[in-house]
Every structure is written in C-alpha cells, then in structure tokens.
C-alpha cells in the first residue's frame, strides 16, 4: 500500500534501477490468452516443460486462483448469485491479489512467469456481459503489461465444439447470467461469439501475438518457441513502473 508520495517516489527509483540493471537477470511475464477451448492450457503446459528444460525458473499463475479470493467467487458462482458488476469486481480483486502475491515477487526475483489468462480475460468477458470497457480497464490499474501475450484464436464454432465434446459448460462460462437462454450449449455459442469479438479487438489494441489455434498442437508449440526466443530480448517496459512501485511501497508499509 502506498503510504506517501515520498515512499512511492523512492519505490519508483528502486523499481527502475532493479529492472534495468544489465547485471541482473530480468524477470519475464508471458501471458496466454484466448477463449475456452482454444487449447491455450495445453500450450502453456508444453511451453513450461520446454522452458524448464532450457533452465528457466518458471512460475505459473492461473485465472481465478488466488487462495484468498477464489473461495469467495466459487461459493457465489455455485449459487448463481453474481451480477456482471460483482463478477467483474471479484475477478479484479483476485487478479490484484495474485499480481501482488505471486507475479510481482517472482518477477522481482528474476523468474519467468506464465499467466494462464491475464487481465484481458476479465476485459473480454466483462465487456461481453455488457460492462463498459473503460470502467473495467481502470479496475485493473496500475496496469502491469506482460512482455509477451499469445492470443490463441479460434472461431466460436471450434470453441463450442471443443468445450462441449467433453463436458457441459457451466452457468457463467455459458454466459447464462446475461443471455437468458436456458440451454447451456446454445447460450455458450451466443456468449462465446461476443467474447471472441471482444478478444479480437483487444488483440489489435494491445498488440498481442496471434496464434492460429486451429493448427496442430505441434505446429502451435513450435511457433510459440520461435516467437518467445525472438521476443524475450525486449527491454523492460517502463509502463509497468506504477504497478511495481506501488507493490514495493506496499511491502515497505506492511513490514
């Protein structure tokens, strides 16, 4: 928690010095984004195994997985008690807690963080639920931008086929809270089309690397390796200074 402007100023200087020090191994943040059924979790696992074999110290974080907030969301989803605003705010809280407890500490230690879904998931789903993009984006401030974002692009039909091949989509996954469609499969098809439309806009706005997720698993994995090797040498993004400084100042205040 930032306690004062002076503490925040000192934290900013410390963050810049830490992440731009050429003698220090810099942490990297790689995000995997895409709709359900796009195969990103399969790719994330393959990528992690490869990175470990290459000697990287890897940390993985998944969407809606904070030990503190996840139980709160889970119990409310179970009774279908969430409005779009509550859904959005609780997922924002879960994300914020993971940024502060998992992602930033790992980056600070020079580790490579793989995020299986990042804030773009919140943006795509919340906007598909009818919320205002500007309002939702600001909930995630101070923004932390990944070094690389892979967007796994599939059509709504492919997403629907892959998801429903093995299971029935759950109430919120199918967007039944906003479609008013009783059949989960039909609702999913309608909702995922909206989500994909939002993802496609976000992929353009935020310069994500689009991976054709209709390709074979092997082809996608090879492409990801190549893109990672080309992209990992990017310099540290100064856009992240606010997020890091606030976290550092908060650590100081918590001690």
């Amino acid at each position: 928690m930032p306690t004062s402007a002076a503490a925040l100023g000192a934290a900013r200087r410390s963050a810049r010095a830490h992440f731009t020090d050429p003698a220090r191994k810099r942490g990297l943040l790689v995000a995997f984004e895409g709709p359900d059924g796009s195969g990103k979790t399969t790719q994330r696992k393959l990528f992690k195994t490869w990175l470990k074999s290459e000697g990287y110290d890897v940390v993985t974080t998944k969407w809606n997985s904070s030990d503190l907030i996840k139980p709160i969301i889970k119990s409310r989803k179970a009774v279908r008690a969430l409005s779009p605003e509550e859904f959005s705010l609780l997922h924002g809280a879960d994300f914020r807690h993971r940024v502060e407890q998992i992602i930033l500490p790992a980056l600070w230690e020079g580790k490579l963080v793989i995020a299986d879904r990042f804030l773009f998931t919140g943006l795509a789903r919340d906007v598909a639920r009818g919320l205002d993009l500007d309002w939702v984006l600001k909930l995630y401030q101070p923004l932390l931008w990944p070094d690389l974002v892979f967007y796994f692009a599939v059509s709504p039909i492919t997403s629907g086929k892959r998801v429903t091949a093995t299971r029935m989509p759950n109430f919120y996954e199918a967007g039944q809270d906003v479609t008013d469609v009783d059949d989960p499969v039909e609702s999913y098809q309608r909702f995922i089309a909206r989500v994909i439309r939002e993802y496609e806009s976000l992929a353009l706005i935020f310069n994500m690397i689009t991976v054709d997720a209709e390709q074979s698993i092997g082809d996608q994995h090879r492409q990801i390796r190549e893109l990672f090797l080309a992209g990992q040498r990017r310099p540290w993004s100064a856009w992240n200074i606010d997020a890091v400084a606030e976290w550092l100042a908060g650590r100081g205040a918590a001690r």
Binding site: M1, P2, T3, S4, L8, S66, D67, L68, I69, P71, I72, S75, S83, E85, E86, L89, L90, G92, A93, R96, H97, E100, Q101, W135, K138, L139, Q141, A249, G250, A253, A254
Partner: protein, 179 residues
C-alpha cells in the same frame, strides 16, 4: 398523484457502531425505510476465515471487495427499496471507502472510477467518531487490520487519516449552498 418518498441517504464514518446508530436515527419514521449495512453479501465474513498463508490483501484489493459488496447491496437492498418508494439509509456508502482509499494513498481517479456504478445519495451524512474502528469493527477497522497486521501504530494512523478525509469532505459538503 402521490409524490414518491424514495430517497437514498448515506451515512459514512470509520466507527461502525457510531455509523449504525446514526443510520437508525436517520430513518425519520419507522416502517417507512430501512438500513443497508456493510457486508450484506458476506464477502468480508468469508475473507476473515481465509487462511493467513494466502497473504495480506492490499488496500486496492480490499476496495474492490468493498465495491463488490456495495454492488450486491444496491441490487438486493437499495434499488428494490427505492423502487418501492421507501427511504434507504446506506451505512456506510461510498464516502467511507473513498476516505480509506485516500488515507492508504490510492489515487482519487481510481476510486472515482471504481464507484461509478453507485448512484449519488440524496443526502450525505458523516460520523466523525473513531473509537469502533480502532477495535477492528466495520470496513475501515477491518481493512486497516488486514493491511497493517499487528502494527497498531500504523493502523491507528491509517484510521485517523481516513477519519480526517471524511471530516474534510463533511466540511466541504456543509459549505456548499443547499438547492
């Protein structure tokens, strides 16, 4: 045609007991209105039983949870009561959370955006007592405990700063000419 009595009154302060007492006084005629309390959704109750190993939430995380609880209260308590033409006293409402956020150094712009979904209260009241918060009661008390843990001095400073922000806001409101 009868004029609607629908009216949203906010009562904000860092001392939860004093805020509840003031909220009860704010309902001019019993049976004509009700009080919407903090944590009607039970989010913070659930947070209290979470494992300490999950890590301390930051001020921003706690404010996102406060906003989620407020969205719940608006949906199930405040808006239905207003639609039925009743007086609703929201105790606390937006000002308490904003005061806590400002005391914790969270930017005003972020706080303003966060609570953009909440309709403005027709009347805003402020309670300046601080004792209940120091014992960990209410949102500010609990949030200060969560952020600062056992450091009582830091907790007291945070509560004091939040109370000061509320006093400033109350004075600002008092100076504004009534319509």
């Amino acid at each position: 045609m009868k004029a609607s009595r629908a009216r949203l009154v906010s009562v904000d302060g860092v001392d939860a007991s004093a805020v509840i007492a003031a909220a009860r006084r704010a309902i001019d005629r019993p049976g004509r209105g009700g009080v919407s309390h903090w944590d009607a959704s039970g989010i913070f109750q659930d947070l209290c039983v979470a494992d300490a190993a999950a890590g301390a939430p930051s001020a921003r995380t706690l404010l996102l949870l406060y906003a989620a609880d407020l969205a719940f209260r608006l949906r199930w308590e405040i808006r239905p009561a207003l639609a039925a033409g009743r007086t609703v006293v929201a105790a606390p409402y937006v000002d308490t959370a904003v005061a806590f956020g400002r005391a914790a150094g969270v930017p005003v712009g972020w706080l303003t955006n966060l609570f953009r979904f909440a309709p403005p209260a027709a009347e805003r009241r402020f309670v300046t007592a601080t004792r209940g918060a120091a014992s960990g009661e209410g949102f500010v008390g609990l949030a200060s405990q969560r952020v600062h843990g056992c450091d009582r001095g830091a907790r007291r400073r945070l509560i004091g700063s939040a109370a000061a922000h509320l006093r400033i806001e109350a004075k600002r409101r008092a100076r504004r000419p009534k319509r």
